[in-house]
Amino acid sequence: MSTATIVSLPDQSTARIPKVNFLTKENGLLSWLLTGDHKRIATLYLISITFFFFIGGALAALIRLQLLTPGAELMATDTYDKVFSMHGLIMVFFFLVPSVPATIGNFVIPIMVGAKDLALPKINLLSWYLYVIAGIMMIYTMSVGGVDTGWTFTTPLSTHYLNTHVVSAGLAVFVAGFSSIFTGLNFIVTIHKMRCPGMTWFRLPLFVWSNYAASVLMVLGTPVLAITLVLVVLERTLGIGVFDPAKGGDPLLFQHLFWFYSHPAVYIMILPGFGVISEVVSTFSRKRVFGYTAVAFSSVAIAVFGFFVWAHHMFIMGISNYSALVFSLLTMLVAVPSAIKIYNWAFTLYKGSITFETPMLYALGFMGLFTIGGLTGVFLGSTGTDIHLTETYFVVAHFHFVMVGGMLMSFLSGIHFWWPKWTGRMYPEKISQFAAVVTYIGFNLTFFPQFILGMLGMPRRYASYPPEFQVLNVFSTAGATVLGVGYLLPLLYLTWSLKYGAIAGENPWQATGLEWQIQSPPLTENFAETPIMDHEAYDYDWLERKQASEVASV
């Protein structure tokens, strides 16, 4: 690994964190709980989602421990059902959906567009409170006995056959949905209305574009999920019969409605991650993102196509052959904009001055793992192979390659990238590079064997399996422990860096975004005076000229 670095820190003997910043402006618990500042709300979100991530992670550890041996030795089979259901629900709705938008997006989008705050600060705070209420409802569900429907609430299992806490879990997800609608709404209004003078659409950083596309999905898709879950609750409590064939309903209707949200939901989760990767790859290659316009529009294309592929989750569920054919073709279309992004990042690297700081290591990991995750999606989108692979560990591996290998890697990349801006201090570089490599190794060891297990026919959602699958399952569980270390390390050293990290200064990465031209941590108002955008995004020549003129004037 090259030791070259672009990091440029101020002289540590004289550097100080600015006395006035958004963290020190006001003190006391109430100043946080009643804040309208997007940066403080982002911080609240960061703490909350980290809390839920470690609950979800603990449940994942239990799943992997159970699958270490072929029999159901660790817990009863119905307990296992509850554990994997709660793992899915917490990770999807309480970590992945809000992860990048509500934390990093909340923090940097207003600064990137040159605004003082989001357009609707109180709605932003309300969104966090709804998230917390939903989280409490989910913890209540877990503490009174949990739910064992899987994260998909599939009917008629959820409405007719189970006596677990489907209603409180469904309502928790309902409330969490409104939290994400409010975040999306806020981003859309902010990006349309609050751009600073000179900030045209095609001067916006690509992080803003991808979050805009994800916000459109949140606002248009989430209400469908909310209505569907209310219908499940009504079906269960009052027996209204929408999903009950005995009363003229149809259980497959539930899956249509559920996947109409939940397929776009995976783009809600991954699109903001794409945005992080665009920023990081450009910064650590010292080059403008190759094909800026294509990358920007591919986000929008993913958002639009994403709404018309949902029935690929239902190929074996009894939908019509003709429908399956159409949805299979439409699914292949989504591969095009995703591939545009991967190719354009690769071309950005080409002849760039690449350095390997931690955010870049995570970004490179993302590019590899997301490519594998995306391409195995093509296997599952083809109706023929899907019949063999669906409901096996192949699907579990595919989903985790996209969501953990893709989304979680980009989240960690973004957290490390913007950490100096957020806290004013650097994280320790060597140990974090080590953590990134450990995460990558642990991830592959955990999930790659699951592709093979799925190909061999091991079904998902069972507490036990035939003994011949044990070797690969032991690999997977061993990998999960390595992965766990990879996730614990950042928690420890990032907390450490809050007090002991080196002073970062304004622009440790020599990056071009507006957020890097202001103090770190930023002022509550972000900018001392309204910025005027007079250059393209990722214009490193502009940055050089600016720094040269600053040196000259000093």
Binding site: H192, K193, R195, C196, P197, G198, M199, T200, V216, L220, G221, V224, D250, L252, L253, H256, L257, F260, F307, F308, A311, G318, I319, S320, N321, Y322, S323, V326, I532, M533
Partner: protein
């Protein structure tokens, strides 16, 4: 500074349109009449058309509320586009779901 703002002229120069009380009362009365119609029709046996009529009346009422009470009629084009995008996605949901139900009866190809 100026170039950024002039292209959004129709967005920034929003004038708040004042709707006369007469229109509000008229729309309110229409909504009440339509509600009465929905209730009345439910007592008439129309076979499968009971649902069709009820939904048609509901759609008309929703449109009146969105257009007049929520001021969509007097809003800039961007707001109209936002509302239409919701309808577009909803039509995608309905039509592609129904396409599955209709073609299930066709059997295998």
């Amino acid at each position: 500074m100026i170039e950024g703002t002039h292209e959004h002229k129709d967005e920034t120069e929003e004038q708040i349109h004042i709707v006369s009380p007469r229109i509000y009362i008229l729309i309110g009365a229409t909504l009440l009449i339509l509600t009465g119609t929905t209730a009345a029709v439910s007592f008439v046996e129309l076979g499968p058309f009971n649902v069709v009529v009820a939904l048609a009346i509901a759609v008309i009422k929703a449109m009146l509320v969105v257009l007049f009470f929520m001021h969509l009629r007097y809003s800039p084009r961007l707001t109209k586009l936002t509302a239409i995008s919701g309808i577009f996605i909803f039509l995608g949901l309905i039509s592609m779901t129904l396409a599955d139900y209709i073609s299930r009866a066709w059997g295998r190809w």
